[in-house]
Symmetry: C2
Subunit: 302 residues, 2 copies
């Protein structure tokens, strides 16, 4: 099988990027010094995100390359989703050891591309270079109506803490195939009063304290309410990372009617209230990433 | 001296990103799932670019880290400049071996930051990860008035081929300190009729055929006219890369009066007409990257 060393960079790029579908907002994709796109229009804001995955850190070389590519794109899509946004234009950088086969790299790119097409994202540029370790970096732009942009710092004391889907055990395989919650997040910002939202990439145990800290509140978790994935303990649902579910705050737990309407829109996707944000103790410094954990003991549960 | 392994990622990010200056168009920089920025306004287009530099490929570990950081940012700024644009928002991804000292990484970041501040660029986000090789990737947005956007595919037969500055010998040191031609490019698009423009990153010998190919023209070079840097041969001015000067096409060589006006605006920066674009031979395939070289023989010079 051909390796990258044999075909060279220009031929590789041609094979990877030929016939990339581009939307009407793209005036020029890859090929010039920069891509040229039409600006975000209307009362919208632009979202910008970049993220990378590295061989040996985020995946192994014997992981299926198509799924690795999917994950590299899906991670940044999940971040755009968490702001209530719609992903738009992506740039893909790949650092590749020269001994890789062209077939392997084409499979990575096929995964990236399949994810981009699933979410109508234009791949408008990128970069390849040689290196000793595989690295895939994706930069993504998105847009969000100004009134629907959900930051992580808007949670208020008394807000219900909710999560989508099931948590825990993602590293057994789901982390390579997750589908970012773009439609779900937009539905939530349209139908519920969402004070704050973020995606669960590092696990509830790390990400919930981040939302609390940004919002200057504390939290109380109802341990028994955690929606654990099949075969997972509550501890795993709490601590395992890579769920890519949505964590959000709303003034009251969803009503029965709201839940019915959610279930009609997204059958099979759980929506669970797992606790409440509470007032920060007087004199409490805003940094309490350690203390957050204390709340996960039976004695402090509500 | 402290290493990255000793202080950990969160502390590193705090040390690198504290007090990053942000312009009024940035609603939220690093810290949430995405950065939030105001969209490009007016009759402008958005430019998107990403690029990376890698230890052992683009620089050595014993290169001065502050200059390496400058170069990583300056390369993408040069691409925005080449479209006639103004750089706006940057995201910086760094892959770092854990044995690096914090001081070394802070110096890289200081260089990135100094370049960003020089061009009023907001660093709105980024990512750090561990890896076996240093890799610095910068994604940059920019804007350009729709009427002033200079692509590389607009050169016409008969156009004069011009370059800014001096060429060749960059790898002796200048490649780590070059100042992207942002102001120069904008001046050119305002004062001259620029049909096509790009930056010279791989050397005239590779980049000029790219412009010709994109524009479906051929070119004739006046070898004696190449503005070689001091101590460089014509061959080096033609073939050495990393000049980061502007290559552009205009209908006629600049007049004496135009050159005077350029010299008043940018004293000490040469502006040289080095040849002409000519009609593509009938039946000629648009791909002639090899053939471009043939024009650099005395027998075909005009």
């Amino acid at each position: 099988m051909e390796t990258l060393a044999q075909i060279g960079e220009d031929a590789l790029i041609r094979r990877l990027t030929h016939a990339l579908p581009l939307g009407a907002d793209v005036i020029a994709g890859a090929g010039d010094d920069c891509a040229i796109v039409r600006p975000v229009r209307g009362r919208k804001l632009q979202l910008l995100k970049t993220d990378c995955i590295i061989e040996g850190v985020h995946f192994r070389r014997d992981s299926e390359p198509e799924r690795v590519g999917w994950k590299a794109m899906a991670r940044v899509v999940s971040d755009i989703a968490a702001m209530g946004g719609t992903p738009e234009h992506a740039m893909v950088t790949m650092v590749l050891p020269v001994e890789l086969t062209v077939e392997y790299v084409e499979k990575i790119y096929a995964g990236l591309r399949r994810c981009a097409e699933t979410f109508a994202i234009n791949v408008v540029g990128g970069e390849t270079s040689r290196g000793s370790q595989i690295m895939i970096s994706v930069s993504l732009t998105g847009s969000v109506p100004e009134m629907r942009c959900t930051r992580r710092d808007g949670a208020k004391p008394g807000d219900a803490i909710c999560v989508t889907g099931q948590l825990g055990g993602s590293l057994r395989g789901r982390h390579l195939d997750f589908v970012p919650r773009v439609a779900e997040a937009q539905w939530l910002t349209r139908h519920f009063t969402v004070h704050a939202m973020m995606d669960l990439s590092d696990g509830l145990a790390k990400d919930l304290p981040r939302m609390a800290q940004a919002s200057r509140v504390e939290f109380v978790i109802n341990e028994g309410a955690l929606p654990a994935n099949e075969g997972c303990t509550m501890e795993q649902a709490w601590s395992d990372g890579e769920d890519y579910e949505l964590l959000f705050a709303m003034p009251e737990p969803p009503t029965k009617r709201q839940l019915q309407s959610w279930n009609r829109a997204f059958p099979g996707v759980a929506l669970t209230c797992v606790g409440r944000f509470v007032e920060m103790e007087k004199g409490q410094a805003p940094s309490f990433l350690g203390k957050g954990w204390d709340h996960f003991t039976p004695s402090t549960n509500s």
